[in-house]
Each structure stands twice: as C-alpha cells, then as structure tokens.
Subunit: 325 residues, 2 copies
C-alpha cells in the first residue's frame, strides 16, 4: 500500500491537461532573507485554489464506470471537499459531501456550485463517519479519503514532480503537513529523482502530531490543534502516509500563528501571492529562521490560497494591532 | 511624435527576456458575472509589481552610452519611480528619483533598494519640476516621463501585444487610464492587429479627465481627484497620449471607489490575484455592470499589485463595515 515514483508519474499523466500546471515564483527579497535560492510552487492557482484537486482527480479517475456512475463521497468542510466536487464533475460522476451544517455559507455554496450534493450534519450530535458509511452503503458511493489513500498521495506528489522539472537543482524541499498526503507524495517523487534532497515538513506549533510521531516511531494522537492554519488541523498522521513519511521525511519544523501571518503578508506584499494560512507555513519557516536554509536551493510548496479577503484582512489587522501598529 | 504598431513590436523585442511575460488568468465566476469571456493580463507579476517597467525600460534602453553614464531622472512616488530605478539598474545606469519627503518610508526604502538615489522634497513649499530641472541641468540627467513619451507609450503597448498573442480572439479591451500611456500603447497595438476591437478606458468617477477631454475634443484639466486609485490621479491627459487616445479609444467607463474595492476582494477571493486599486478598475467595470460586455471576448489589463497587505486589509475592512458586515 505504499507508493513509488512511477505511481506519481502515472498520476502526472492522468492530470496532464486537466490540472493546472502551476507557476513557480522567485523573489530576490525572499532569497536575501533566507540566504538561499527559493522556488515557490504556487498551488493557489490550482483548480479549486489548492493542491487537493490533484489527489482527488487521480483517485476518482481510477474508478471504473460503475463506480463513477454511482458517485463519490467525501467528508470535509475545506479544500478537499471542493477538489472532490470539481474532479467528480469533470469525470461525469457526482460528489456527495458531508459537511457540518454550521460551515460558512460561502463554502456550502461553493461546493454546491461545483455540482456536488451537500449533506449537512450537526457536528455536536451526529458522526460524519456514520452518516458517510450509511450513504455509502445505501447508494454505493465510493469514499475519497483526503490523504490516506495511495492514489491520493500519488496525485499530490505531482506537485514535486513539476517543481523538480522546473527547478532540477533543488536540494531542499519544504512541504506543509496535515494528514501527510502532500508530503508523502512529494517526498516519494523528490527522493527518487534527487536522492540527496532534504525533505522538511512544516507543522503549526500547536499541531505537531507528525513531529511527535516521527520521534516516537509510531503514530501519536494529539488534541485537535488550535491554529489559524485550518488546513493543518489533523490530530494524527494517516496510517499509510506515516509509513511513507517515517522513511522519507528528514526533519519537521514548527511555526507559530504569528509567523504564518507575517509570511502571508510578505507573500502578498512582495510576490503578490495569496496564501491561506496553511499554505504559508513553508515561507514562514524560512522568514522566521526556524529552518536554516543558507546556501541551499529550496523548493517551497505554497499549498493553497483559499483564505478570503475578509479573513485575510482580519488576520493582518489583528497582527498589526498586536505589534502596536 | 505618435506611435505605430512597429514601435510597440520593437519595444517587445527590447523587453524580451528582460520584462516578465506575465500570465493571463480566466475565471468561470467572473465570466458568469460578466456574461463574457474574460482574459486578465496580470501585470501584478511584472518586475516592480506593475506594467510601468515596460515603458521605463524601453525608454532607458534607447539612450546612448553617454546618457546612460550620466543617469536618468524621474519624479514619482509610485510605480513609475520603482520601474525607472529597476530599469536603470539593469542597464548599468543610475536613477535619481525626486520624491516627496513625506512619502511612505517603505516606498522610499524600496526605491533606494533598487539602487536609485532618492532626492526628497517638501511638496508644500518646493516644486519637483524645479528641483528636477536643476538636477537635470547640473548632472546632465535624462528625464524619464511617466507617460508622455513615445518610447514609454510603446513599451506599455507590449501588454496588449502579449495579451493578443495569448488570446487572439479578443473583441474588447479594458485598460485603466491615468495619464493615458498604457491605453495609448495598448490601443495602438490592438487596433492594428484587430481593427474591429473595441478599446474601453476605465477611470475613477472622480478622475474622469480623459472622458471629459474626449467629449470636449481637447485636453481638460480637473482638480487632482480624490480616489483610492492612487495610480489614476492624473489631473489632465498627456499631450502625446491624448493625440493617440482621441483617435483610438472608443469609450470611457467610470467606476466608484466602492466598486474598486469589491473588485479587489473578488480578485483575491476567486482568482487569488493581488490588485492595487488602480489595477482593479477593469474588473470593477465588468462586475458593476458599468460596461455591458455580454457576448464579448474581453481582455482586461490588471495593471499592478502594489497595494500592501495592511492597506488592502484597511480597504476591505472599511468596505465590510460600511455594508454593516
């Protein structure tokens, strides 16, 4: 149940002409601050605004016609939901998304806008897993997991495949970690293509389940972390992702919410890039000095841009006030 | 003193490999709202964060060696200053920029960071033109005007040249207007390549000097407009730009500051693009319905992204409060 370079390459073939080949950005100011060459892979410009489309499409496009006709299922209130909805629509399938009924109306609307059926649930009294299992059984829906699936991991790995095509000299790769699917796919591709490359995962300070798990040599479960990085709130690494990451991830770096907001503002000001909190952690690790990248040629995955102008304004204003600005 | 397609093409040759070939973005949501195909030319990703680099480089690269050695001069507190500083640095020349001493420290620093000498002046008691004339005489500096120069206009026209290469089917082009250099260059290229294309200029409601001038058949001077679009505060069209624009601009549309902020938030939310107020006017014209583009294939020049996260946050928050949000 692990993955290899050829799985990522096969995903790349499936995604060709369907996923956006996202651009790679550089910034002299960022390079001066980091003392390193830096290549930013801008997945904010991916379909659905985040890398998640890659894994979802790779998974759903591997289903047979019968399964596609019955439809797919996901539980998510975030980027994975939209990715599954978009991918299902493109493949002539139909997505059912189990979402908390108190999720922001904009997210519910956006998911419906991509053609998905939203099944709302009360997250205080109901279990999304039970609802999902019932729907899957009743309608024969195929569950698309957000990370713990070899096809999903392989799809996410195409981020590194493309980045290394554009910047083959990389000797360092920074990737955000939540459930670990993105870094599992990226590390698989990167270590196969550039055996000497150092793969560094970045977690929020409060959400260091993968760091603890790697230190313990087994999966460690923590409380659901409080952090502005709402895409990185996994409480425990995935089972399959952890098997990959324990072999291939060299180091974990943690960043604070303040460092994340500073990185978001930096990306906006200097590179004119929109990063959601989870997407900015790699740049936060470089700007804060939490990772010493001096003399390296670093690739950084900016994993998504779904933050919204109002929320961005709130985060930046609050940070400015806290600094007495 | 007018320009033709071949001047723009020559500028394109000079800029090849030096200016960024900026990407073109599309959005289903924007197209649904406008009822039109829309291609956004993202000059926020140009060197210096705005289209201005094109004209400045085209001008400065046309100077002879003696002039380059003596250096160039500009008066500006905005994007033109940075563009001249960057272009001069790349060409082994040196820029002197006359800037108000109370300009934001970040802008003064950024301009110095590009290697320019900043000459501050007191805008209440001193005249930048006099200071500039004195410096030019003493040091033999060449003045680089922000728009009223054929080489500057031709450089800016490469925006349309590239956009029409990427989207040759355009039959409508929306361009922000301040002094009129960007639209003069773009209209020259676009009308030569696509004679039937409709070229629409967009001005802030309070800064409609070009609209009035076109209506009057001669250049009309207005009070310096109050608008958040700080790049569009020209009080009068340029002399040379107006000669071009009276022939080639088909229509002027005006947008309000509120419509501009809405467009900035839309671009951030939906396309993950950073637009400064002046850069968002074309999208504002489409979203507000001020321009009826239904059934058209529209090119929109997003002219720059130099707004800063703190200022963006302020604009978006103020708009949300005004809506009672």
């Amino acid at each position: 149940m692990t993955i290899e370079l050829r799985d990522v390459e096969r995903a790349g073939e499936r995604l060709a002409g369907v996923a956006h080949r996202t651009p790679v950005f550089t910034s002299r100011t960022l390079e001066d601050r980091a003392g390193a060459r830096v290549h930013l892979k801008a997945e904010c410009f991916q379909r659905g605004g985040a890398f998640k489309f890659r894994g979802a499409f790779n998974k759903i496009s591997s289903l047979d016609e019968d399964a596609l006709r019955r439809g797919v299922l996901a539980y998510s209130s975030g980027n994975h939901a939209q990715a599954v909805a978009i991918a299902a629509g493109l493949l002539g399938s139909r997505a059912t998304i189990v979402m908390p009924e108190d999720a922001p109306a904009a997210k519910l609307d956006a998911t419906r806008g991509y053609g998905a059926e939203v099944v709302p649930y009360d997250r205080w009294t109901e279990s999304r897993e039970e609802i999902g299992a019932r729907l899957a059984a009743e309608r024969g829906l195929e569950l698309v997991k957000p990370y713990d699936d070899p096809l999903v991991m392989a799809g996410q790995g195409t981020v590194a495949l493309e980045l290394l095509e554009d910047a083959p000299e990389l000797d360092l790769l920074l990737v955000p970690i939540s459930g670990g699917g993105l870094i599992a796919g990226c590390a698989t591709a990167a270590k196969a293509l550039r055996p000497g490359i150092r793969v560094v995962g970045v977690e929020p300070e409060t959400g260091d389940d993968t760091r603890r798990s790697l230190a313990a040599g087994e999966r460690v479960r923590i409380d659901v972390p409080r952090t502005i990085a709402d895409g990185l709130q996994a409480a425990e690494p995935g089972e399959l992702t952890f098997e990959v990451n324990r072999r291939l991830v060299d180091e974990i770096v943690m960043v604070s919410d303040d460092e994340i907001v500073e990185a978001m503002a930096f990306l906006f000001d200097r590179l004119k890039l929109v990063a959601e909190p989870s997407g900015a952690v790699g740049v936060a690790a470089l700007l804060s000095g939490k990772l010493d990248a001096r003399g390296r040629s670093a690739g950084v995955v900016l994993s998504g841009g779904n933050v919204g102008a109002a929320r961005f304004a709130e985060l930046v204003s609050t940070a400015a006030e806290a600094r007495g600005g």
